[in-house]
């Protein structure tokens, strides 16, 4: 077991890689009642085209299957795993993102027993024709719930606009038509390919003792017969730098319009420190441009173009990335134009260093705040780890980024033909 201390943050992280390749991390949290654990596979909605384990040809699986699989993991031949956790005083859940599927529990008691349940249920799939059919009704209603959610529709609409081929444009849950094609067999194919321990990370944070956790996992994994797995081959069609669609307008049953603008990252492919630096640089740039202390925010607010729903974010993964900015608004077209102009004009100026120092402080403070949350630590650490980054490098990296780094990152990211708009407008 490796011990990794972070003195300034007064935290210590423990790490061990098991013989079958599973990475286990433990972060004890003093004074907390709760323990939170995530068991995550590097497999999400974008991984729909790959060579199955022991297969020779690549396959294309139905949209929404990673999420469907996540639902079905909880149902076993004789029982429902939700109930196992709840009998042991834990609440369990799971989520599927573009690039990850995470299973988790949180509890204030029976930590080891719950950890055993977590590891064992994810490593022991059971799918039947009947239960697959039953789930289609439940997920169908989950899809319809999102279809009525105007924020979600605007967000997905802008991502859909950006990409020509990349599967990030496909809704994580799929559609009612696409999930109809999912079978027990296709679930097993995905499971066997992506749920090998060497493709997974277990993270435990809270009221725990690292040694106890590590020896438990070691013994648990040693008792299971995993064969070494070759690297997984995933396929992505080559994606143009330009956006697929410049603008989309979605009429919905709303009273207030929404306007989101997006920039598609033209040169993804970074990992590790490069990605960390780029991601933080663009996020600092967005804070400088649109934070609540910025001139732009003040102008847009005073002119009545935005309200408190205004938000912005940049995210990048191994082979795609994008920034999204937007708000509820009374004038969606004008807001789109103004945001575009503001971004382009900021991109051509040099960064004000006083302002940068302030925003840097703000970012460091927000990071400290985020460390109050066991959920944040486990989920983000895992996301960073899958991209070869280290969550605990965030503060040193923030301290080292210069005005010039930000200027360069902006030049690359906010390109004129990477821009797209999605609006939700009142129907009728």
């Amino acid at each position: 077991m490796k011990t990794i201390p972070f003195n300034q943050l007064q935290e210590t992280l423990y790490h061990q890689t098991m013989d079958n390749g599973l990475d286990v991390y433990v972060l004890p949290k003093k004074g907390f009642n709760k323990t939170y654990a995530t068991f995550t596979t590097k497999y999400g909605s974008v991984d729909n085209h790959f060579v199955p384990l022991n297969g020779s040809e690549n396959v294309q699986v139905p949209d929404g299957i990673a999420h469907f699989l996540e639902h079905k993991m909880f149902e076993k031949e004789d029982r429902d795993v939700f109930q196992d956790f709840s009998k042991q005083g834990a609440s369990s859940n799971a989520f599927t993102s573009f690039t990850r599927t995470a299973y988790l529990f949180s509890t204030t008691q029976n930590v080891m027993q719950n950890l055993e349940t977590l590891v064992n249920f994810v490593q022991d799939p059971y799918f039947s024709d009947q239960s697959v059919e039953k789930e289609k009704g439940i997920i169908g209603q989950e899809i319809e719930m999102y279809n009525d959610n105007s924020d979600w529709r605007a967000y997905f609409g802008v991502i859909e606009n950006m990409f020509h081929h990349h599967p990030v444009k496909i809704d994580i849950a799929g559609t009612i038509e696409s999930i109809a094609k999912i079978t027990k067999e296709s679930l097993y194919t995905c499971y066997e390919t992506f749920y090998h321990p060497s493709n997974m990370v277990l993270f435990v944070v809270g009221a725990v003792e690292p040694n106890e956790i590590m020896s438990f996992v070691e013994e648990n994994q040693a008792a299971k017969s995993y064969k070494d797995q070759p690297p997984i081959e995933r396929f992505f069609d080559s994606e143009p730098k330009t956006v697929a669609e410049k603008k989309k307008v979605l009429p919905m049953s709303v009273q207030v319009a929404k306007c989101l603008v997006g920039f598609k990252e033209p040169n993804p492919g970074r990992q590790g420190k490069d990605l960390l630096k780029h991601e933080l640089s663009i996020n600092l740039a967005l804070d400088l441009m649109f934070g609540q202390s910025s001139e732009n925010y003040e102008k847009l607010y005073n002119e009545g173009l935005i309200d408190q729903s205004f938000s912005y974010d940049f995210t990048e993964e191994e082979n795609f990335g994008f920034s999204i900015v937007g708000s509820n608004t009374s004038s969606p077209d004008e807001l789109a134009n103004r945001l575009y102009e503001m971004i382009q004009s900021f991109r051509n100026e040099s960064v004000d260093t006083d302002q940068l120092e302030r925003i840097r402080k703000k970012k460091i403070g927000s990071f400290l705040r985020a460390l109050n949350s066991p959920e944040f630590i486990a989920n983000q650490f895992t996301r960073y780890r899958f991209n070869d980054m280290d969550l605990f490098e965030v503060v040193p990296m923030l301290e080292s980024i210069t005005a010039k780094d930000i200027e360069e990152a902006m030049k690359g990211h906010f390109a004129e033909d990477s821009f797209t708009v999605c609006q939700v407008v009142p129907k009728g």
């Binding site: 907390f32 204030t108 008691q109 319809e144 105007s150 919905m252 609540q292 309200d307 403070g365 400290l368």
Partner: protein, 425 residues
């Protein structure tokens, strides 16, 4: 040691709550202003905190306030509104880094509290009222905030259900205020209302974090010099009457999924002895994934992705929510009613009760791990005037018997079935 190390002192016109803990990397300050929810004040009160955070005498714009916050290592400031029983609560929340985790040792406590004091105590004024350009801007944003309730169908359905359940009572009002009343509020009338709030509201200030070596009482007295309240009114919430007839409200919009919301009255609130039994009842009925609603509506019948119930702690309500296909309306309502009948008939075992109690215990202890959650729990005691420690709460839940649950189940009465459906149904 107590689970929440909570010290309470009277500090001039407010009550100071000090919670010493070293488990966070930040310090959290929450200021709660409590007054009755009334039709006359709801709109002004919903506007006031947004105006206050938008400019002070020394930091004359929202931009200036936000710049100061950033200088304090990204201290956060947020305002919020809540309905707690018959009260309309305004919240100011601030959170700032504990300097011991920063590479430069900058004392932030006093600076951060001074800024919060600026926002609450020293607003930007113009003659004898608030700055009118700030008020105008915030009125515009406020109208949009009220309108956007309609856009979130789950929130909209909740609002409509509450209106239908309490057509002639203040509890039926929405905490965001009334859209038609917004134009009538002026910079002057709002300022007059602000003065009244400062003089009459019941105010509680919570400090959560590592406060060793901080002279909290002194600082709070100096920075928040509210005058002593003349009479500490012992107002509590009047529980919703159980004398109601069941009614059904159907509404149509262009949507894809139907939203079924059912409102029940229980006659049990936070201060009552039966409160713990209500919690266990709700947990078994629809509060958790092992509940009757989740297992029957979702797992057994595949009718919904979510089917859950939650309780309102002061008015004594239970609200059931589920998203379903339009054509399954009757069927789902029937199944939900059957689950209530099953609860009344005691159709549950020892195991389910134990499981539910364990989950409630878990939930309470987890809530206490979060500074905001801790304050929420403590504040129930202020609203209901019934102080309970977490330990008492945990013991109370543990002691609930099957008879207690049956007694509560027997009281629970369906008031309104609200269904928002699509046009083709």
């Amino acid at each position: 040691m107590a689970i929440i190390p909570h010290e309470k002192t009277s500090c001039g016109g407010l009550t100071l709550h000090r919670i010493q803990t070293d488990k966070y990397k930040t310090t959290t300050v929450v200021v709660q202003f409590k007054a009755r929810l009334t039709k006359e004040t709801v709109t002004k009160r919903a506007l006031l905190p947004y105006v206050l955070q938008s400019g002070t005498k020394n930091y004359s714009s929202s931009k200036a306030v936000r710049t100061e916050l950033e200088k304090l290592y990204g201290a956060t400031l947020g305002v919020d509104l809540a309905k707690k029983g018959d009260f309309h609560v305004m919240t100011f929340r601030m959170d700032f880094a504990n300097e011991k985790f920063l590479s430069e040792d900058e004392p932030l406590f006093k600076k951060a509290l001074s800024l919060l004091s600026e926002v609450i105590m020293n607003p930007k004024t113009d003659g004898s009222g608030f700055d009118s350009s700030i008020v105008d801007k915030e009125k515009r944003t406020m109208k949009q905030r009220i309108q956007s309730i309609y856009d979130d169908k789950m929130r909209y359905s909740n609002m409509r259900l509450t209106q239908e359940m309490f057509p002639n009572e203040a509890f039926g009002l929405h905490i965001y205020g009334e859209k038609e009343e917004v134009d009538g509020v002026t910079a002057q009338s709002l300022y007059d209302y602000y003065k009244k709030v400062c003089a009459e509201d019941e105010i509680d200030l919570y400090l959560v974090g590592d406060l060793e070596g901080v002279h909290a009482e002194e600082v709070v007295k100096e920075l928040f010099p509210f005058q002593e309240r003349s009479d500490r009114k012992s107002e509590t919430t009047e529980k919703a009457s159980l004398d109601v007839e069941e009614k059904e409200i159907l509404e149509t919009q262009e949507i894809k999924q139907g939203k079924l919301h059912m409102g029940f009255r229980s006659g049990v609130g936070y201060a009552d002895d039966e409160y713990f039994a209500l919690q266990v009842f709700n947990g078994m009925f629809g509060g958790f994934s092992h509940s009757k609603l989740f297992r029957n509506v979702r797992e057994k019948e595949s009718l919904a992705y979510y089917a859950a119930s939650r309780y309102e702690s002061h008015k004594g309500l239970i609200i059931v929510m589920s998203g379903i296909e339009f054509k399954n309306f009757k069927k789902t309502v029937d199944i939900i009613k059957e689950q209530l009948t099953a609860m009344r008939e005691g159709d549950f075992n020892e195991e389910e009760m134990k499981q539910t109690k364990t989950m409630i215990r878990n939930q309470l202890l987890e809530t206490v791990d979060d500074a905001k959650g801790m304050v929420e729990l403590l504040y129930h005691g202020v609203v209901s005037q019934k102080l309970r420690t977490i330990e008492e709460w945990l013991d109370g839940v543990e002691a609930v018997t099957k008879e207690d649950i049956l007694a509560v189940a027997d009281k629970v009465k369906l008031d309104t079935v609200y269904f928002l459906k699509g046009e083709e149904a």
